[in-house]
Structures are given as C-alpha cells and as structure tokens.
C-alpha cells in the first residue's frame, strides 16, 4: 500500500501546524521522522492516520484517504500514539487483542486469526510470559511494549508510531527499532518519529526532517544528518562519527547558548 501526501496542510484554531507537506511512503520502507519538539511530528502522524482535518491531498493507493470507511482505514493504517494511559486494568493479552477490533463483527467471538495475531504480537515483543498480567501491574517499559504489541496485532500494511522508543531502556529501544526494521523487510511500511538520531540514522531507510511545520529535507540518512542541519534545526552541536553500520550522532552542546557565551 502506498500512502501519499501532496501539499498537505493542517491549521488548528487559525494557527498553521503543517504546511506544504509532500511525502510518499512505499511498502518495505522504514522511514524515520525527526525534528525538534513542536515541529509538527505528532500532528503529521495523526493526520496520516486519517484523524485530523487537513488541506491538500492525502491518498492511500491513489484513492483519497477520506473516502475509506473508518473500518477499512483501520485495517490498512495502524497508529501508535504517545498517550500510554490504559484506562482499565485489562490483562496484557486483552489489551493486545484490542488491535483486532477492525476485523471483528459486532458481538462475535475472536477468530483463530485473531488469536494467532495476538500470540504472534506477544511473541515478537517478548511479552508472552506477561500475557495474563493486569496492565496496571506493568512497568512503564512493559506498557510501551504491550501497546506496540497491540499495534502489531492490528496487522496493517502501514504502521505509524509516535516516539515508540521514548522511555525504554537501550536494549528495548534497539529491540523496538529492530522489530520495525524487520516488519519493513517483510513488506510493511513504517513511519516512526524518533529523537535518537543515531538510532534513526542507522536503522531507517530514509529520514524526514521536520521543522516549523515544514519538511526541511528528506532522503537517505547520510544526506539528511549533517552537522549544519542539526545545528540549524535542533540548535545543537553534535559529534559525527561512523562505523561499519552507519552514522553515530551524539549531541554535545547547545549552539545558541554557546553563541551567547561568546558575546
């Protein structure tokens, strides 16, 4: 499935949040969405998920996304938000099973396909041994993995994830991007917003740098991640290095503060 935005814009209460967004997501791609806080990353992800009124064109396989029913959309595009609050202490397996809602007829029992999808999602995220644990007895990282499993159980060709590795320890950060990369290899399309530039640079096929509601640049990680651009958009000076697997980007000091000290 191809998700494509052309001259996309979003205005909320007379404020422009996104403008002139041109972006195409192809199957098999793991695309990283980077940019400073307030750049519009979350709004872009929500808009691509079909949840925000917008100007411009947004198409899924060359058909306007708005023309799909809510249920059709939910079988094609999965969305993992930043909100990790789970209102009731459902078990982990039940929360993951919520990802099957787009496939279930009213009042039906879960099908074999539903059970298989949940079991697979629990196994991919290594949550099998926690399947029957109420979700209010999980650590923050376990909640994040449970919600990731919920997204995986939805089995959508396109996955949109808003800061999926925030709050995870290094091992689980790596495990999460590994899952997304594997899913892309398997033909899914993944767009995830990330703040860790090293992870973004090494794992994503392509990066999209957003600042002030516009796409500054998109392309191969090496082309997007340059010292000048990082300084301009994030206002930080970063150390750039490289090993056999790709770039290493470590932010070291604020550029703005540095200038102020010089003056």
């Amino acid at each position: 499935m191809k998700l494509s935005a052309h001259d996309l814009s979003v205005r909320v209460a007379n404020r422009t949040i996104l403008q002139a967004i041109g972006l195409t997501l192809e199957p098999g791609e793991f695309v990283g969405l980077i940019g400073p806080n307030g750049a519009g990353k979350s709004t872009l992800l929500r808009t691509l998920a079909g949840a925000v009124p917008h100007g411009g064109e947004l198409t899924l396989d060359d058909r306007p996304l708005a023309g799909y029913s809510a249920r059709e959309r939910a079988r094609r595009i999965g969305y993992l938000g930043q909100d990790r609050h789970v209102a009731w202490p459902l078990t982990v397996a039940d929360v993951v099973g919520l990802g099957r809602i787009p496939y279930r007829a009213p009042l039906s029992r879960e099908s074999d396909a539903d059970r298989r999808a949940v079991a697979r999602a629990l196994s991919v995220t290594q949550m099998e041994n926690l399947a029957n644990r109420p979700s209010d007895r999980l650590s923050g990282g376990e909640v994040a993995r449970m919600l990731l499993a919920r997204l995986i159980a939805q089995e959508t060709p396109i996955l949109l994830a808003d800061e999926p590795i925030a709050g995870l320890d290094p091992a689980h950060q790596l495990a999460t991007v590994q899952i997304f990369a594997d899913m892309a290899r398997a033909g899914h399309t993944v767009l995830a917003s990330l703040h860790d530039l090293t992870l973004a640079g090494r794992w994503c096929d392509r990066l999209v740098l957003l600042d002030g509601g516009r796409i500054v640049v998109q392309g191969a990680p090496e082309a997007v991640l340059t010292p000048e651009r990082i300084a301009e958009t994030y206002g930080v000076e970063a150390r750039f290095d490289r090993d056999a697997d790709g770039l290493i980007v470590v932010p070291l000091r604020l550029v703005g503060q540095h200038r102020r000290e010089v003056r």
Binding site: A70, A87, W88, L107
Partner: protein, 333 residues
C-alpha cells in the same frame, strides 16, 4: 493470578438472580396472596387477585428490573466512554434536569391534572439537558468536555429547580419534589411501564452496539479512532441514548442514585475490566440491586413508605467501602 468466575458463569448467575428476584417481587405486597394463587392469577382470570397481580405487582416488578438494568448499563457505558470510574448519568445532568421537569409539572399543577404529566415533563427535561450538554461540549474528543458541560447543566437545572420552588405558591411542592428525588416504585401502573419501557428497551438495543467502541476507548480517543471507531458519532449516540433511557427510567421512578455508579464498580474486577463485558454484567447487576432494594422497601417498614433511592444508597455504600479498602490494599502492595 486473581481468581474470578468465567464470563458466561457470571452472566448466568446474575440472570438467575434477576429472575428469582423478579418472581419474589411479584409475591410481596400488602394483600396476602399465596405463591400458587399469585402465579395462577397472573396468567388466569381470577377477579381481584388477577387485578392486583397484573396492575399493581407486575408493573412494579417490570419497572424494578428494567429501571435497574437501565441504570446499571448506562453507568457502565458512561464510565467506559469517559474513562472515568466516577461517571454515571448524574454527571451529564440527566437526573437534575429530569427533576426540574418534574418540579415544573408539580408547581404548574399539570401533575395533578394527569398521572402521566409529571413523567413526561421529567423526560422532556432530560432530553433538553442532553441537547444542551451536546451543544456545550462541542466536537472535541476528550471526555472532559462532556463532564464539564454536564456539571454546568446540572448546576443550572438545580438552581432553576430551587428558584421554581422558591417562587412557588404551592407549599407542598417542596415536599413532593424531595420525595420524588428519593425515587420510588410504589403505586406505579402499567401506563408507567408503557411510557418508560420503550425508551429503556430502545436504549438497551442501541447501547449494545457501542461495546466494541468502549473497549477501544480503553486506550484513548486517538487510538480508538485508529481502530476504526467513529468517535464523534459514538459519543453522540451514547449521550442521547443514555439521556433517553435514563430519562425514561427517572421519569417514572424519580431519581434513584448510586446504582449507575456502584454496580459497574463492583462488577468490573469480575469481568477482567473489559468495558463491553461490563455492560452486560452491569445491566443484570443493576436489575438485581434495584429489585432487591425494592423488596427491602416493602419488607422492612412497609408502613413507612421507605424510598427506593435511600435504600439503594444504604445497600450500595458498603460495597463501595469494601471496594475502596480493597483498592487501597492493592495499591499498597
């Protein structure tokens, strides 16, 4: 792992309990009618006994079960949608606006002209409140918009009720509205059933369609929307259907508090907290609690006209205490 009954077992148990209480409700009353005679008269034609059974006890039993089910169900639905364990139809201002409708009927004298004027006026009050809440809350997805609008409407209608009583020339109006606000199933006829039941039954059917959406709302409106829930639509359905069903119930019984709040609370752990399952369990649990309370009203102090809402609160509060203590232990672990 917490041990809990399977969902079918729980539903079967609650259904049997409801059926037994419904039958008991038919057997309790001031006229001394034996079990065999009672059911014989209900289905046959045995003069006065049949009249007592069909026109006094049957409406009361039907109303206690259906009103209880409506209150329990709507509490479960609103708590699930608003993601708030303290929600019930009261937070949407439905009870207080129905009370305003009732007070207007009493003060204007309409209530004395026709027995159905008061319930109809109360129902109209609940409907207007729902429209006002909907208009105030706007199209935002958050549950807080609805709660804030509900609280605002509830304060306005309470103030208007007080004002109406304040200016009323009828000295008994205050007394009547106070009693009405305690809820009762005494002296209800089949006309009351015909008035309220269609609203309540339509409500059950329509609310049955939102179960999956409530499950999805466990993860918030954004995620629910990405799971295919039409958030704005479901929200409107829940608001208006709840207002109609609870409005219909409240119109004939007066305000019966606590059922919508406590029943979902007590049953939630028993259904693994799943909102859609809680709907079924709470409907049956509400029917059970209200019918039990109505039996208590008639068996304890039958001569003092104990009010239903008073008893539901007294029966329900200890459950609530137990739950709070349980939660406290749980969080301290």
């Amino acid at each position: 792992m917490m041990r809990r009954p399977s969902f079918p077992a729980l539903v079967t148990l609650l259904a049997i309990l409801t059926a037994v209480l419904f039958a008991s409700s038919l057997l309790v009353g001031p006229s001394d009618i034996g079990v065999g005679d009672a059911f014989g008269a209900l289905f046959g034609n045995e003069g006065v006994t049949t009249m007592v059974m069909r026109e006094i006890r049957l409406p009361r039993a039907i109303l206690s079960v259906s009103v209880g089910a409506t209150l329990g169900l709507s509490g479960a639905v609103l708590q699930g949608w608003l993601r708030n364990p303290l929600a019930d139809a009261g937070v949407l201002g439905i009870g207080s606006s129905a009370a305003l409708g009732a007070v207007i009927a009493i003060v204007s004298g309409l209530a004395y002209a026709s027995p159905l004027a008061l319930p109809l006026s109360a129902l109209a009050g609940a409907g207007l409140a729902a429209i006002l809440v909907f208009a105030l809350a706007g199209q935002g997805e958050g549950g807080n918009g609805l709660i804030l609008a509900g609280v605002a409407v509830a304060s306005l209608t309470s103030a208007l009720t007080a004002l109406t009583l304040n200016l009323s020339a009828n000295p008994f109006a205050t007394l009547e509205i106070v009693f009405w606000s305690m809820g009762s199933l005494g002296d209800r006829s089949l006309d009351h059933v015909y008035l309220a039941l269609p609203f309540m039954a339509a409500g059950w059917l329509l609310l049955a369609s939102v179960g999956r959406s409530l499950d999805a709302m466990t993860l918030g409106a954004e995620t629910a929307s990405s799971l295919g829930v039409r958030v704005a639509w479901v929200r409107a359905v829940i608001l208006f259907v709840t207002a109609a069903a609870v409005g219909g119930a409240t119109a004939v019984t007066g305000v019966v508090g606590f059922v919508g709040l406590v029943v979902p609370h007590v049953l939630r752990p028993l259904v693994g907290s799943r909102p859609s399952r809680l709907m079924v369990a709470s409907a049956l649990g509400g029917a059970t609690l209200l019918t039990m309370a109505d039996l208590a009203v008639r068996l304890i102090l039958p001569s003092r006209d104990l009010k239903l809402g008073v008893v539901t609160a007294i029966v329900g509060a200890p459950f609530f205490f137990r739950l709070i203590l349980h939660e406290r232990r749980r969080s301290m672990r």
